[in-house]
Structures are given as C-alpha cells and as structure tokens.
C-alpha cells in the first residue's frame, strides 16, 4: 500500500508533507474585479450617451418585479499539503482543492431550489515543471487507487509565471479557479441549450463574467451570455476610469462616492484579452445613511455585449436590470454575512448551498495523509 509520498518516490521525486495550510484563510481574497481595466472612451457604452449618473425612480417603478430567476455561484477551497522537489534543485508546492459550482432557481412561490446538481471536483495540483512522463505515471498511479476513486479526484498541473503570480500557490489557486469557471460555463451552456434562460428569467452570476480561457472568441460565445449578468460584491475602488488616471485622473471610487440610493453610473466599456466587449456599471443598492462606509452597498454589474450592442448596451435594458437588482434588496443576509450590504440574498443562499457541499477541511486534508490503496 502506497502513501502519496511513496507514489512520488517511485519517480524519484521527493514529496514532503507539511502542516497543511488552508490557503483561503492565509491569502487575502482579491477584489472580484481584480485585473479589470476600463477602456478609455469618449461616450458611455450605452445608447443614452449622457455622462451623468442615472437615477432609477423607485417611487414610480414596480417594486414587485425582478427579471432574475436563476443564480449561479462557484466556490473553492484550497490547501497546501506539502512541497515536492524536482531534480533535487527546485521546490514547488503541492496543493489540493475542492471545487464546486451550482445554480439555483427561484420558483413562483419565491422559494429557492437547486437547479440541477451541484457540480463537484476534487483536485490534486502539481507544478507543470514536472517531467511529462513523471506526471503521467504519478497521475495514473494515483487515479487507480480506491482513495482517488472514492474522492472523485483528478490530478492536474498548474503553471507558475513569476511575472503574473507572486508565489506558486497563487498559480495553483488560479488553476482551481479556472476549473471552477469551466464548471460554471458547463452549467450555463446546458441552460442556454435547453432554452431555460429568457429576458424575464435571467441569470445572475456571482462575480465578473471572467471566462477568458473558455472564450472561443466567436460571436456565438456572447450569445450564451445574452440573458446573463455578472454582479460583483467587491471591486477595486482605485480602478482608473480612463488612462488619464495614470496622470492624476479620476479613480472609480471617487465617482462612486457621489452615488445615492437607486443611482447608477453610466456604462463603462471593458474588453478582455480576446477583445470581447463588456458593459460594466456601478449601482448603489443601499442608502448611504444605512451603511458603515460610503463605498458599502454599491455593486458592480456587467453584461457581455452581443452583436447588436456594438454601439453600447441598450440603456432601457440596463435600467431594467438595475430595477430588478434594487428589488432584490429584500430580504438581506444582515447578521449572517458582513458583506450583507452588497450581497444579494438569493446569491447568498446559492453560496450557502454550494458551500454546504464541501467536505470538512480536516477530513479532506487527512485523506491525503492516509494510505492510498
């Protein structure tokens, strides 16, 4: 019977177990829009070209309506269980992860249910600096074990780029995130193919629509996101609103301080590395007098631009989305989650559902310290 170390030993790679480190508590969670950049533009990326903030008049609007029926979230837990030494010279962390993604649906009685099953993956992440043959053999040995089968384990590599990742564990975490996004895209793809999503039964994805790796670059990819909106609870307040910010221009946080309850910024244009266009804007969903700091209670919303949105998103659609989100303000998770001011309740419940599917940290980690039969 082999332990993990012995499996590595067969390929002359030394694996040192250490006191397992829960990476999620060790490293500070970055902003949800980490890496975003607003493209400089003359006019807002929407049909209403006014550069002023817009107000949703809640006194006259229908407060019982929400265009959202589906809520998607993904979550992962990562742990460092040891380090492996390659060729006697270089040392890389060995990371394990539990990755989950799922979707909920709100029925006509306003009750949330799981939509399909929560997708699960358990991963063992190794540096891609390993020799391909070594990796293939170690992977095969591990996957053949009963332990790996019981855990539905997969063994994957992560790529550490010193220019991009501070430390190798960040690269492993990023890989886990990518696999989580893959699972979210899978769920979304199935929903789109089955015709589940509609303009009055839209999907909110928790976080930005950062599906770069999965982006095929083709117009059809954007069609999947026609009835999808990304909502970020946290965002970088120092994000420049234009390249002028580098020379002392306005950062978004300063603009957001002017927003009152029910007001939104104009739509900004964002492009990813595949030149995919997104409209993103900020909306205050809690009165300023009711939150502890002036940037609390503001969320960042983004929507992928489809072919028809070449000149910008339809402002009426943007306002409609804002109204729906404002109407999602009740109830709240106040008292349960300190991010309550920006955390929409159905998204909170979806997150709770997904997180309830995690195995306990202790049990999961100790699986890798026991004998791999």
């Amino acid at each position: 019977m082999s332990t993990l170390s012995e499996i590595f030993d067969k390929r002359k790679i030394t694996l040192y177990h250490n006191e397992s480190l829960d990476l999620d508590h060790y490293y500070q969670e970055p902003y949800q829009d980490d890496g975003d950049e607003i493209k400089e533009m003359g006019d807002p990326f929407e049909t209403n070209k006014s550069k002023k903030k817009r107000k949703i008049d809640l006194a006259v609007e229908d407060r019982t309506y929400s265009g959202f029926s589906f809520f998607m979230d993904g979550s992962r837990r990562t742990y460092k269980i040891g380090d492996m030494v390659l060729d006697g010279k270089k040392i890389y962390p060995v990371v394990i992860a539990q990755v989950r993604a799922g979707c909920t649906e709100r029925n006509t009685q306003k009750k949330l249910h799981a939509y399909g099953e929560v997708q699960r993956k358990n991963l063992l992440l190794l540096s891609d600096k390993m020799n391909d043959v070594d990796f293939a053999e170690i992977r095969q040995r591990i996957l053949k074990t009963k332990m790996a089968q019981a855990l539905h384990l997969d063994v994957v590599t992560y790529h550490f780029d010193p220019n991009k990742d501070n430390v190798p564990v960040n690269a492993a975490i990023a890989k886990a995130n990518t696999m989580m996004h893959d699972m979210e895209i899978d769920i979304l793809g199935k929903m789109v193919n089955s015709g589940t999503l509609e303009p009055d039964r839209m999907l909110i994805v928790d976080g930005p629509l950062q599906f770069i790796r999965q982006d095929t670059g083709k117009p059809e990819f954007a069609d999947m996101f026609y009835n999808v909106v990304g909502v970020s609870k946290s965002f970088d307040p120092m994000l420049p609103t234009s390249s002028k910010a580098k020379r002392g221009g306005t950062q978004i946080g300063a603009e957001l301080l002017k927003l009152e309850y029910g007001e939104r910024t104009p739509v900004f244009l964002k492009e990813n590395s595949r030149h995919r266009k997104f409209g993103c804007w900020y909306l205050r969903i809690r009165p300023r007098s009711r939150v502890s700091n002036p940037l609390e209670g503001i969320i960042k919303i983004e929507k992928m631009a489809v072919i028809d949105d070449e000149d910008g998103l339809d402002s009426a659609v943007v306002d409609n989305i804002c109204l729906s989100i404002l109407n999602e303000g009740s109830p709240t998770c106040y008292g349960r989650d300190e991010r309550w001011a920006s955390h929409l309740y159905p998204v909170y419940l979806t997150e709770t559902l997904i997180k309830s599917s995690f195995e306990s940290d202790l049990v999961f980690i100790n699986n890798f310290k026991r004998d791999f039969k």
Binding site: R63, T64, S66, R106, Q109, K110, K111, L112, P287, R290, N327, E328, G329, S330, P331, T332, C333, Y334, G335, R336, W340, Y345, P346, L349, T352
Partner: protein, 305 residues
C-alpha cells in the same frame, strides 16, 4: 382508515440532539400539525416504530435577530414585499411515548416522520390492549390531519375495583369541566347500568337540574360524535333530585334556583323530594357537621359524645 402521511424528517443537531425521551423534526411546507398530535418514525435498524406526541411547534428563519428582519424590510418599510422567500422552516418538538419493540434508542437524523392513523394512535396510547368489558368511553381525540379516534378508559381504574378517582382541572367559567363530567357519567351509566349509583352534589344553580331531559340545542355533528363513541345521545335515566328544605310553601319547601314550574313538574312525576335534618333522626350524625373544625382540646367531642 386514514393512511399515514409523510410530513417531515428528524432533525438531530449538536444543540438539539434526539434522546430517548424526545426528538425534533422539520415539517414540509404544506403540513398542518397541532400540539398533542401523534406522529411516528420507522426505525430501520430493527423495523420498530417509535411513536411520539407533539409538544410544541416552532417556526425559524435564518434571520439572526429582529434587527436583521427590520433591515430586510428595507429598514422598516412595512410596504416592502420581499423578492425571495427567506430561508425558513417549521419544526416540532416531540415526546416519545411508545416503541413497538421496546427499543428506546434515539431516532436517527433524517428519518422520515409520518402522521399516525387510527390504528397507530390506538397502539401509541396503549388502547389496543384495553379490555372492552371494562372500557368506558373517554372522548374523541381529533388530530391535525382530521383523524378522529375514540379514546377509552380502563373502567377498573376509573370506578373500581383497582382504583376510583379522577381529577379534572381547567380554567373556571368555560363550561368544559362540568360538561365533560356529565358526559363521562352518562357513559358510565350506559356501560354499567344499575351496577353504579351516581351521586351529584349540585353547586351550580339549576344547570344540572335538567339532566333527565333531552338537549334541544344539540347539533347533528355533535350527535354523530356521541354515536362514534358508542354512547347514546340521550338524557340520564332514573334521575332523582333531592332539594334541601326551605320554609317556603310557595317554593314547595325546596331550597333551589330551579323555576317553580319545573319544580312542580318534578314533584308531580315523583322525581323530586326535599330533605331535612331532624333532631331525633340525625342527632347521632351531628359530629359530622363539625368534622372539618379543629378541636384540639376535644371540646365539641366531649359535648356531642
């Protein structure tokens, strides 16, 4: 016979574990349950059934406090309509009363909980072993799932020879204690006929001075309940009223609040008599008048005896 209905699942938590004496279960959203309903859990370990009586029913949400709910209603706006139903559930606390195989291990988390049908209620309350020869109807037990089960007393313990007492307590003025006693006396009279004599000390004006007459106000539904219990919905038989003497001829010498017309009718049909204590007849019972008076120095004792 009504069937069992699956209504929830046992919930055993760190803070509220199942025990030999009680357990808790969450209810499905459409369940209507009442305190004192009987529920059952099938134990897979030995195929026994654990029966319990619902003690209380609670409703909880994920709101951490009143402030949380206040904030969730747009900071105190009474017109706010929430877009999503708050995570909430109702759960019931149950006392274990019986297990079919004398297995009192706590019920397992996640076990299915069912409502009890008529047969289940009989088993849960031990009524399946009652001797019909001595059983006396006690009333109808009605559960939240519209099951109605006749409940019976073991007559040996109600009117003897094994025991002979009953205590009925409740809030005064609701006309339930006396009504129940009268029903029970009728059931006893119907069951035991002349083997039992019933003596009622009346302290209630003329309410109990018509027990020989039918109730004109009884409804069909109430009549059916009597039929379900197997007790005839009829007045008492062989009734006699004994009134204390009053020196008033126009009241027929009867010290009672009963109207004179009714009194005349009772005397005419020989259902009523007056009673009086005379010196010659009752002098040797005088000490009973002072029975509840403390007499530490035997003063009255020495006079009377």
């Amino acid at each position: 016979m009504s069937s069992r209905k699956l209504i929830g699942k046992v919930s055993a938590t760190e803070k509220y574990p199942s025990s030999c004496d009680e357990f808790q279960f969450w209810l499905s959203d459409d369940t209507i349950l009442s305190p004192f309903d009987i529920v059952l859990v099938e134990n897979k370990t030995d195929n026994s059934i654990t029966y319990g009586v619902v003690q209380d029913i609670f409703h909880i949400t994920d709101g951490t406090g009143h402030i949380s709910n206040y904030v969730s209603s747009d900071f105190g706006n009474v017109d706010t309509i929430p877009m999503t139903r708050r995570l909430s559930l109702s759960y019931a606390k149950v006392s274990v009363v019986h297990n079919t195989k004398e297995n009192f291990m706590p019920v397992f988390e996640g076990s299915a909980v069912y409502t009890a049908n008529e047969e289940d209620i009989q088993v849960a309350l031990g009524l399946d072993h009652i001797d019909e020869k001595t059983a006396i109807p006690a009333g109808l037990m009605k559960t939240g799932n519209n099951v109605s089960v006749p409940i019976k007393y073991n007559g040996d313990f109600l009117i003897g020879p094994e025991g002979a007492h009953m205590n009925i307590s409740g809030i005064s003025g609701l006309a339930t204690k006396t009504s129940y006693v009268m029903f029970l006396l009728k059931a006893i009279q119907d069951k035991c006929k002349d083997d039992v004599a019933i003596i009622v000390m009346n302290v209630k004006g003329d309410d109990l001075l018509h027990v020989h007459q039918p109730n004109e106000k009884i409804t069909e539904a109430q009549r059916k309940e009597w039929d379900d219990l197997g007790v005839p919905c009829a007045p008492f038989e062989n009734v006699k009223y004994l009134y204390p003497y009053r020196k008033q001829k126009d009241k027929l010498y009867a010290n009672t609040a009963l109207p004179i017309e009714d009194l005349e009718e009772q005397f005419a049909s020989k259902q009523a008599s007056n009673f009086v204590y005379t010196f010659e007849h009752d002098i040797d019972k005088v000490d009973m008048l002072f029975a509840n008076v403390e007499d530490p120095n035997y003063t009255i004792e020495s006079i009377l005896n």
